[in-house]
């Protein structure tokens, strides 16, 4: 499988990265080379193999259902590019 210029633009949009025509053109052969290379996995017989999700066997733990946000709102907001009235501020979402 190889990707097209159109798909590269689509992926860039899904990944929310602005890309110029020049950039998607440069990326196209690079992505196809990497994708062509990883496709060798198709040679491996994986019928009946369970996908590995946890590399070391362990039970997921439960924790108490308590708020653990640190109660440091203002400290957290200090890093925000724009904070107003104790919230993160963003450009207008609704027209």
């Amino acid at each position: 499988m190889s990707v097209t210029q159109e798909q590269v633009r689509h992926i860039a949009n899904l990944a929310r990265i602005e890309m110029s025509e020049e950039e998607t053109e440069r990326l196209l052969p690079e992505l196809n080379k990497i994708l062509g290379w990883v496709e060798q996995l198709g040679e491996v017989d994986t019928d009946g193999v369970e996908p590995l999700t946890a590399v070391i066997d362990q039970q997921l733990r439960f924790r108490d259902d308590e708020v653990t946000d640190g109660d440091i709102r203002d400290k957290v907001l200090e890093n925000a590019p724009d904070a107003q009235h104790g919230f993160f501020a963003v450009p207008k979402v609704i027209e």
């Binding site: 499988m1 990707v3 798909q7 590269v8 992926i11 860039a12 949009n13 899904l14 990944a15 929310r16 990265i17 602005e18 890309m19 990326l27 690079e30 992505l31 080379k33 990497i34 994708l35 290379w37 990883v38 496709e39 060798q40 996995l41 198709g42 040679e43 491996v44 994986t46 193999v49 369970e50 996908p51 590995l52 999700t53 946890a54 590399v55 070391i56 362990q58 997921l60 733990r61 924790r63 640190g70 440091i72 400290k75 957290v76 200090e78 890093n79 925000a80 590019p81 724009d82 993160f88 963003v90 450009p91 207008k92 979402v93």
Partner: protein
């Protein structure tokens, strides 16, 4: 002998014996750090934090309340969130991010008495094998080829840590390893580095790259120093859902280079065409050193080894694309606002501006392999092959106690030599990645130098939670390998 030439164990013991004060140690290292700007290893210097910890250590010595790392200043990879100290992950994206909290691993080191010399440069978001993807310029290795002044890479992504330890501007440093990022730079700079079993070190407060693979570990000059640091770094942490709730062994006390009764596995699939003769010769030498220490070499098979790298380059970018979705210009770091644009335009402009080429490439690959219609063909397939790779190791460890391989397929290369071809760069980690995919402890120890006078490393892989055997075999190699002459100071 200057204090900066001493190992962590020597500094600790000398400080405890009263040969020198913690303040003297910190001052000497602070001065050495300041004199080494040419290496570009430190992104942020924190001499005041090193001195503060030294003062506490000197006081503790008077009152007999010393901690394991009292008096030892360390370098911190810039991937660890450090409270109030700039943390950039080698990227423009995080801007002037000042974490309001401390990562568990760096907090553990602090609680053990260690001071911090500063934050160490690295490949952007730990994605790279040469430090050339760093937004703040690459780290330079203190090593040079004989008869050449060409700038050599310290490897990556923990290149700043490797360069700093080998240049004696930190006695030890933290690293992180997703697919070889501790071990390859350790090999390239003639030092030791160990990645413990996945889950030993908490990932909390480490800027995430690929969460099912990311593990922290120490980088230092000797095996003993790695054991000392690792003991302080590990431990159960309820804030990381994959943290292992197991006891931390006393690895330093358990060190023994007597390998009688142990079997060392030599995987036949790691004999890869095109590996330079000097790498294979060192590997053979390593087998002899372990035999001399009492171990019995056995040939083993890890049949899916050749698929490890392509598996990694699906899983790691997939997890990265998901993890790095958080950089949206809203909560921290960079924000690029488009005149007259909305929220989506801001996301896209911010991410275009903040991420470098390699990070974008991996986010794009990851987004693609996770996208509708391709998820099963790429991502699920890779997870299945990962299961087979894990199974290979499981079977191998029924026949042996440790596995020996080279750490990297070459010595360090010059900056710019491989940066044009992503796959050539990825191949650097061909020997390191399988152990990462299997979550196993693995270590690089220096084995000697190549024809150009550059260091080469040997790579030991252990069974789950058996860091001790890895460290012991590392010690056996360290005792037998020719001692590597320090790089001559040119910086």
């Amino acid at each position: 002998m200057s204090l900066t030439d001493k190992t962590i164990a020597e500094l600790r013991d000398g400080f405890r014996a009263g040969d020198f004060s913690a303040r003297e140690i910190a001052e000497e290292f602070n001065a050495a750090v300041d004199a080494a700007d040419a290496l570009n290893a430190y992104l942020v210097k924190t001499p005041e934090l090193a001195l503060e910890a030294a003062e506490a250590a000197d006081k503790a010595r008077g009152s007999d309340s010393l901690k394991p790392l009292s008096g030892i200043p360390l370098g911190m990879k810039d991937l660890f969130a450090t409270e109030g100290v700039l943390t950039s992950a080698g990227s423009k994206m995080l801007g002037n991010f000042l974490p309001p909290y401390e990562s568990t691993v760096s907090a553990n080191l602090k609680a053990a008495g260690a001071g911090m010399l500063g934050k160490l440069n690295m490949d952007e978001f730990a994605m790279g094998s040469s430090n050339e993807t760093c937004a703040h310029g690459p780290v330079i290795s203190p090593w040079r080829r004989e008869g050449s002044n060409a700038a050599i890479t310290p490897g990556g992504s923990s290149g700043g840590s490797a360069s700093a330890v080998s240049a004696r501007i930190a006695p030890g440093a933290t690293g992180t390893d997703t697919g070889g990022s501790i071990r390859q730079p350790a090999a390239f700079t003639g030092i030791c580095g160990i990645k413990p079993t996945y889950g030993r070190c908490s990932r909390w407060g480490i800027v995430s790259f690929a969460s099912s693979l990311d593990q922290a570990g120490p980088m230092a000059r000797t095996v003993r120093d790695c054991a000392i640091m690792l003991e302080a770094m590990c431990g159960f942490d309820p804030k990381d859902s994959t943290s292992l709730d197991v006891e931390v062994p006393q690895w330093e006390a358990g060190l023994s280079s007597d390998l009688k009764g142990k079997k060392v596995g030599i995987p036949r699939e790691y004999r890869i065409d095109g590996t330079p003769g000097e790498i294979n010769a060192l590997w053979d030498q390593g087998v002899e050193w372990l035999r001399d220490a009492g171990a019995e070499p056995v040939e083993i098979s890890l049949p899916h080894s050749k698929y490890a790298l392509p598996t990694y380059y699906i899983i790691a970018p997939a997890e990265a694309s998901s993890n790095l979705a958080r950089y949206d210009g809203v909560r921290y770091g960079l924000r690029e606002v488009v005149e007259g644009g909305g929220l989506h335009d801001m996301y896209k402009a911010t991410r275009a501006e903040g991420f470098g080429d390699e990070v974008k490439r991996r986010i794009m690959i990851g987004t693609y392999v996770l996208s509708a219609g391709f998820y099963d063909a790429y991502f699920t397939k890779a997870q299945k092959v990962r299961a087979l790779i894990k199974q290979d190791f499981r079977k191998a460890f029924e026949q042996c106690d440790m596995i020996l391989t080279p750490t990297a397929p070459s010595a360090a290369f010059a900056l710019g030599e491989k940066s044009d071809d992503p796959i050539a760069m990825y191949l650097n980690d061909v020997f390191a990645v399988p152990a990462s995919l299997a979550g196993l402890p693995a270590m690089s120890v220096p084995g000697g130098v190549n024809g150009d006078g550059l260091p080469l490393g040997l790579h030991l892989i252990g069974n789950e939670l058996d860091e001790q055997t890895v460290l012991n075999a590392g010690l056996a190699i360290e005792e037998r390998a020719p001692s590597i002459e320090l790089p001559k100071k040119w910086w």
